[in-house]
């Protein structure tokens, strides 16, 4: 149905110990590449995690909105 194949050439690293589970990154990610994990951080938050098999383009929107500066973004 005319779905454009985007190059999934982006990758992010989430420092889960900094994440407070605010989920803002999930809301703004255009590719749905981030989701809540099933872990618990030392501070008692439920952090998010990156879906490796996603179509991340390295747009860095998640990093821009992350209040904890917990995300580093790679693009290739």
């Amino acid at each position: 149905m005319g779905v454009t194949e985007s190059k999934a050439n982006g990758y992010i690293e989430i420092n889960q110990e900094l994440c407070k589970g605010c989920q803002v990154c999930i809301a703004f990610c255009p590719k749905g590449a981030i989701a809540l994990s099933d872990k618990l951080t030392a501070s008692g938050y439920i952090p998010v995690s990156f879906n490796d098999g996603s179509e991340c383009t390295g747009c860095a929107i998640c990093a821009i909105v992350c209040p904890e500066v917990a995300i580093e973004v790679y693009r290739g």
Partner: protein, 251 residues
């Protein structure tokens, strides 16, 4: 793959004490980026104030001093007058700047002191547990307006930026928000411009930033971010409030 986004160098490696979804940490990050990009770290001093951001100096790796509640602009004035080559900025919340510090705010702006103010407006007193702020919206519930802010009993929210724009010494004021990637990018640009106004010696500059306070608004972080666009901007419209930099350049 190349790294296209990493933690700014001027942000110390410390976990933010701010609540999940708070606007302060984003603004701290933008400041760290701008100061680094403009290469100001060796000649900049930040004056922070009472409120949640009283510990801002734990995160920004620049010279910082804490002022008494509300007095940030007076302290910044003294510092700038004593050392004009130093870039001086204040980082203040709505209570600090528009309640207890109103006189200092108005007069520092009026004198056109060559300082920059980062005004974080989250419509509530965060640090002390969510009491009414000068910028609390009508009908907004806070711990000291449990029945919702009533214009007759508690007055109206103050549009500080519009008020200060009337003063001769003010050169640049813009209101932005940190509730979306686009607005965050705009905020960074405004902060940059505000510092440039100071460096060019033109006069007083301020960026009023609408920021979320999820815990005290009793909302989930995302809901708080959305409330800014839905409700706050009705009372505090985003955009340039005053910009006479072109005029001042000509002067």
């Amino acid at each position: 793959m190349t790294k296209v986004y990493s933690r700014p160098k001027l942000l110390k490696k410390k976990i933010f004490h701010y609540c999940a979804g708070c606007g302060h940490s984003i603004i701290h990050r933008l400041l760290a980026e701008v100061i680094e990009e403009m290469n100001l770290q060796e000649r900049i001093v930040g004056i922070n104030s009472a409120g949640c951001s009283v510990f801002a100096y734990d995160y920004l790796d620049i010279d910082m001093a804490e002022a008494a509640h509300g007095r940030g602009m007076a302290v910044a004035t003294g510092l700038k007058r004593a050392s004009p080559e130093t870039v001086v900025f204040t980082y203040q919340g709505d209570g600090d700047l528009a309640a207890i510090g109103t006189a200092e705010t108005v007069h520092t702006a009026n004198r056109g002191e060559r300082i920059t103010t980062i005004f974080v407006n989250n419509a509530v007193y965060g640090m002390t547990g969510g009491q009414m702020a000068p910028t609390t919206l009508l009908a907004q519930q806070t711990t000291t307006t449990p029945y919702g802010r009533d214009a007759i009993l508690e007055g109206h929210p103050i549009r500080v930026s519009e008020m200060l724009a009337l003063l001769g010494g003010v050169v640049y004021i813009e209101r932005t928000a940190v509730d979306s990637p686009a607005n965050i990018r705009k905020t960074k640009k405004s902060i940059r411009k505000a510092f440039q106004v100071q460096i060019d010696g033109l006069g007083f500059s301020m960026v009023e930033i609408l920021a979320p306070c999820p815990i005290n608004w009793k909302m989930e972080p995302l809901e708080a971010w959305q409330w800014i666009g839905k409700e706050m901007t009705k009372v505090f419209p985003l955009g340039v409030i005053k910009d006479i930099t072109g005029q001042k350049d000509a002067d």
